[in-house]
Amino acid sequence: MRRWLPRLALLLLALLLGLAALAPWIAPFDPAETNLAQRLMPPSTMHWLGTDHLGRDLLSRLLWGARASLGAVGAILLLVLAIGTVLGCLAGLLGGVVDTVLMRLADAFMTVPTLVLALFFVGALGTGMVNVIVAIALSHWAFYARLVRGLTLSLRARDHVAAARVAGASRLDIARRHVVPAVAGQVAVLASLDLGHWILHVAGLSFLGLGVAAPGAEWGVMISDARPFFRTAPMLVLLPGAAILLTVMAFNLLGDALRDRLDPALAEHGH
């Protein structure tokens, strides 16, 4: 890996995060504002990237779409880390029945392809962005719980943790002071490799019409909205897709770099 690539990825991600955060202030138009007199317009000084089939400003929708995608992935990350770390720590530290039950449950969740499981959960919970986020998080927590449990078990055998236990530290203390800091690096590697994957899942489920509702701006929804016009106005499909591609590439670059630096042993995990 060349040394400038991770820096480029960081720069790109910072830019995307900045644009997403500032979208309400820098987007030239309301992303949901339709103007049928201005439909399917080519780029102009007023609409820098042109307009879609309802006359909505494409640039504004792309910016708000970044907000939706990155926000969703951030929420998935928090949920997966919370569930995975807590359950993994519990299983590793308590052992016994708790460990058996939690790990069998994790096995059950890993028995189903992640996107199929997410589709099923959206079906069970109902459509909408919040449920898409919950569904994707629920279909991925098991990988993290397994990783954290394994790391916790190997840590428990280490002298400094045993010493803390002998000195009377509670399990909560051990989890907070010794386990969480030690597993953070490895979890970060796994998560950074998954972020791009989750962007693709969010976009895919939104493309299927399960995420953001109709007037909302999200990259997957924009592509699905533009379908009937993509022979005459291919930009409406090309640009949101390119935005997804760029974001996923940036996350993947960052993930590869982080893995090379923190954990060369963790091979490409393929899910």
Partner: protein
């Protein structure tokens, strides 16, 4: 070998049982009242009397464990209930849609194997020369591509511009090409990268020096000493990729109007048709688990250490 196969199947059964409990619980813990969904789909006005009747008919008035057990009793006899929307047996609908999905995922898997592995080998053998740079650049792009968007790009190029291949539908082998490429690309590129790394790892090993020293031609060294060892890491991830391909097919099917389980699942989700949804996820899980089982058995057959090691453990 037979004992190993039996043992693997026996460990799978409790896992599948647990999976079915999770599915059942998720459907019942979700929002909304299934009886209301049922009435809406049957176009019966939701009066109190109708609701009470439906609850009794669907068994919703019984406790959750009792409902699960009666569902399970039907399921082991391959009766997955009746779709609330179509009023047809779920199994029938699924068996109708499943072949198209399996064909798509299978074709994609063939692409992953027939292109990903050789290209990975090629990249490794031409390390740091142009074939390596080219395949790596393409693979890097490929792992980040949204499959449904790639589908549109392929249609734009090969159907609209060139007119070589059909843009949608499932008629003849030509209609399979574009959806299969769109489904396969991410897994193909991941496999390519893994294969390259794996070959480079084996190429650094010392027994190759001996093989060359005793005069084995380079071609023989690759075929007899590099490939068998280098293939193991990418092949162990095939099971996971199969999951990705099955999931990816669900989205790609929508781009190409491919009449598979993706459309069935979307209809079930839109209708909140619980028996159909349950049938869908069970069918996909069954395919996934079965294929992984076959992969495991193939390993055990190829590598005695696995089946004997499993017995010792």
């Amino acid at each position: 070998m037979l004992a190993f196969a039996l043992r693997r199947v026996l460990t799978l059964l409790p896992l599948l049982l647990l999976v079915s409990v999770v599915f059942f619980a998720m459907l019942r813990l979700g929002r909304g009242d299934p009886a209301l969904d049922y009435l809406r789909l049957s176009q019966i006005p939701p009066t109190e009397a109708a609701l009470a009747l439906v609850r009794q008919q669907l068994g919703l008035d019984r406790s959750l464990p009792a409902q699960y057990l009666s569902w399970l009793a039907d399921a082991v006899r391959l009766d997955f209930g009746t779709s609330w929307a179509t009023q047809r047996p779920v199994l029938e609908d699924i068996l109708q849609a499943l072949p198209a999905t399996l064909q798509l995922a299978g074709a994609a898997m063939a692409l992953v194997l027939l292109l990903g592995l050789p290209l990975g080998l090629l990249a490794a053998l031409y390390r740091d020369r142009w074939p390596d740079h080219l395949t790596r650049a393409l693979a890097f792009l490929g792992v980040s591509l949204p499959n449904f968007w790639l589908g549109f790009l392929l249609v734009l190029l090969f159907s609209v511009q060139l007119g070589w291949l059909p843009a949608m539908g499932r008629e003849g082998p030509a209609s399979l090409i574009l959806p299969a490429i769109a489904t396969a690309t991410v897994s193909l590129c991941v496999t390519l990268r893994l294969m390259r790394a794996s070959v480079l790892g084996v190429l650094g090993e010392r027994h190759l020096v001996f093989a060359r020293a005793r005069g084995l031609p380079e071609r023989g060294v690759i075929a007899r000493h590099v490939l068998p060892n280098a293939l193991i890491p990418p092949l162990t991830t095939l099971g996971l990729h199969l999951g990705e391909l099955l999931g990816g097919a669900m989205v790609v099917e929508m781009v190409f109007a491919w009449p598979g389980l993706g459309r069935y699942a979307l209809l079930a989700i839109g209708n909140r048709d619980f028996p159909a949804l349950q049938g869908f996820v069970l069918a996909m899980t069954a395919v996934f688990v079965l294929c992984n089982l076959l992969v495991d058995l193939a390993y055990a057959w190829l590598d005695p250490r696995i089946r004997l090691g499993a017995k010792a453990a």
